[in-house]
């Protein structure tokens, strides 16, 4: 281990209470994927039948890994690098890799918020006109047939709102945990629920809405025999809950020692899924209206997931309906709010790591992370080629970086002595709902096997067919390169000396937790 230079007096922040943590954890879990990913994925993987593998994945993989994050963060009381360093020898590398993955994600996640914020304004005048697809790609993002795969030409319509997004989120993060992130979540999450519920209620009363719901919920039972459908359910739950890449681990490390971990974990997990179901109802009611207006079946519609759903299909729907501008403002404001609360949690992973290792204040950590993140975000994603870069980086960093991190975390926790059993005992020692022993099997065997299948499938696809028709060198830089950058970052920062004296000044609480993990008696 490298020599440290102790710096006395550094203190860790903490949530003002368990409810604040719960609201922030739910705000983190509910993100863009709940609105634009889940409805389309469910529909194309068996409709109502998809909900069976979805619930199975939630109970057997999603919630168990969520509780693993909670147990590690809460018992070892530190950000990912600090907690994993204490969990196992060499664990700090994984901790900083998680920080690196979060940093990569937040550089492009902010761009989508900028798009959504801009579209909330565009909704007022329905600025996309009669052809939302051409407007989105050519007019708004300024992607043309002559646009190079990588362009440094800035797009003002994206870059200006992107700079505003960065200013706001860095400001919130700099205010610290309670006065910044907690306060923002206390405001934004209820607002999101109100706005999104209003949008769903409006959608339910549109003509054709029932046809949309019929398409969404009618089960295609044959899909249950397809292993890809089960993997799709695991992927949806995994990405949606934001587990195993530092977020929930970091958030739970700021909880007071006496906190109900399993109770809050179940509420957060089910709240996230409840919002997804609500999104499915709202999105498919609106799609049913669109199909009704065009005189086609819902199954004939295209662009049912991702940015195309939000920035092409929904503008079409908004233009077709009476009171469309208000509906558009509700939809895009919801998208923005859902994204902001998730972006803040990504920022806190990076900020928390910097604070723990280098004894930075929240303000200093926000600046050290925020300035380079803003620059990278503007240069790579705020330009004419931003859409290409976002598409590739998002695919690779999620399929390889996030899933790889999760596999490593579950294996690390399983093989490092009697850790999983110790973590289970920690969960049960502070929680009202007790975790059975099967949790050890789910986290130590079932989850890594399922996640390895996911990652293996993605790697085979990348190697055999590339991705999205992009040139190999482009994928090498932005795809494999983004994962490589996170790995390099992890190695370099791990080798830097600790400036915080916490390793030599282990708190009483952490020491007690450590004894429990090692199975030692008092």
């Amino acid at each position: 281990m490298t020599q440290t230079t102790p710096k006395k007096g550094h203190t860790r922040e903490a949530w003002s209470g368990q409810t604040a943590f719960l609201i922030s954890a739910i705000g983190s879990a509910i993100g863009l994927g709940n609105i634009w990913r889940f409805p389309g994925v469910a529909y194309s993987n068996g409709g109502g039948a998809f909900l069976i593998p979805y619930v199975v994945a939630l109970l057997l993989i999603g919630l168990p890994i969520l509780l693993l994050d909670y147990a590690i963060g809460h018992s070892l009381r530190g950000s990912a690098p600090w907690a994993l360093r204490r969990l196992a020898r060499g664990g700090e590398y994984l901790g900083w890799f998680q920080v690196g993955v979060c940093f990569v994600i937040l550089t492009y996640y902010a761009v989508v918020l900028a798009w959504a914020g801009r579209y909330a304004l565009y909704s007022i005048t329905e600025a996309w006109g009669a052809d939302p697809q051409t407007f989105f790609v050519t007019d708004f993002l300024q992607v043309t047939e002559t646009t190079a795969a990588f362009s440094l030409t800035p797009v003002a319509a994206v870059a200006i709102p992107l700079a505003i997004v960065w200013f706001v989120v860095v400001l919130i993060t700099a205010r610290g945990l309670t006065r910044g992130i907690e306060l923002a979540n206390r405001i934004f999450l209820p607002l999101l629920v109100v706005l999104f519920s209003a949008m769903v209620i409006r959608a339910l009363f549109l003509p054709g809405a029932l046809d949309g719901l019929n398409a969404f919920f009618t089960p295609q039972w044959s899909a249950l025999g397809d292993p890809h459908v089960w993997l799709a359910a695991v992927a949806q739950i995994f990405y949606s809950l934001s587990v195993a890449f530092g977020i929930m681990l970091t958030y739970s490390s700021y909880l007071a020692p006496k906190s109900n971990l399993t109770g809050t974990g179940l509420v957060a997990g089910f709240a996230n899924s409840s919002f997804e179901i609500l999104a499915g109802i709202g999105v498919f009611s609106a799609l049913g209206f669109m199909a009704y207006g065009q005189g086609v079946a819902v199954s004939d519609l295209e662009g049912l997931t991702g940015p195309i759903l939000s920035f092409v299909t929904f503008p079409q729907i908004i233009s077709m309906m009476p009171g469309g501008p208000l509906f558009g403002v509700l939809f895009f404001s919801s998208l923005t709010l859902a994204g902001v609360t998730s972006l803040l949690s990504l920022l806190q992973v990076v900020s928390g790591g910097l604070q723990d290792k280098f004894a930075f204040s929240p303000k200093k950590a926000a600046l050290v992370m925020g300035v380079p993140a803003t620059v990278i975000s503007l240069i790579v994603f705020g330009t004419q080629s931003g859409l290409n870069a976002l598409d590739v980086v998002d695919s690779f960093i999620n399929n390889l970086g996030v899933v790889g991190s999760a596999i490593a975390l579950t294996i690390l926790a399983a093989v490092s002595g009697p850790r999983l059993e110790g973590l289970r005992q920690h969960l049960n020692s502070v929680s009202s709902i007790k975790i059975p022993k099967v949790w050890v099997l789910l986290v130590g065997v079932v989850a890594p096997v399922a996640l390895s299948l996911m990652m293996g499938s993605a790697i085979i696809d990348y190697v055999r067919g590339g991705y999205g028709g992009f040139p190999t060198d482009y994928l090498a830089v932005f795809g494999w390169g983004s994962v490589g950058a996170a790995l390099t970052f992890a190695v370099v920062v791990t080798l830097l000396p600790w400036r915080n004296d916490r390793p030599e000044r282990v708190s009483r609480v952490a020491a007690e937790a450590d004894r429990q993990l090692r199975g030692e008696k008092r």
Binding site: T11, R12, E13, A14, W15, S16, G17, Q18, T19, G47, G48, L51, V55, T178, L210, L213, N214, F216, F217, T218, P219, L255, A256, K258, S259, N260, G263, T264, L266, V267, G269, F270, A271, S273, S274, I277, S429, V430, S431, S432, I433, R502, R505, S507
Partner: protein, 46 residues
């Protein structure tokens, strides 16, 4: 909507939203080492 779609929707809402309501009730009602909110702690001094 077809009958099977209605049944699927009702079952889904019962499981997912029922799970949410049930877990909130459990968090509030079940006695435990730390049932309810913990004491406000502000910045934790070590």
């Amino acid at each position: 909507m077809s009958g099977i779609a209605i049944v699927t929707m009702v079952c889904t809402l019962a499981i997912i939203w029922g799970g949410l309501i049930g877990s909130i009730v459990a968090l509030r009602v079940l006695p435990g080492p730390a049932a309810g909110d913990v004491e406000p702690s502000g910045v934790e001094a070590e």
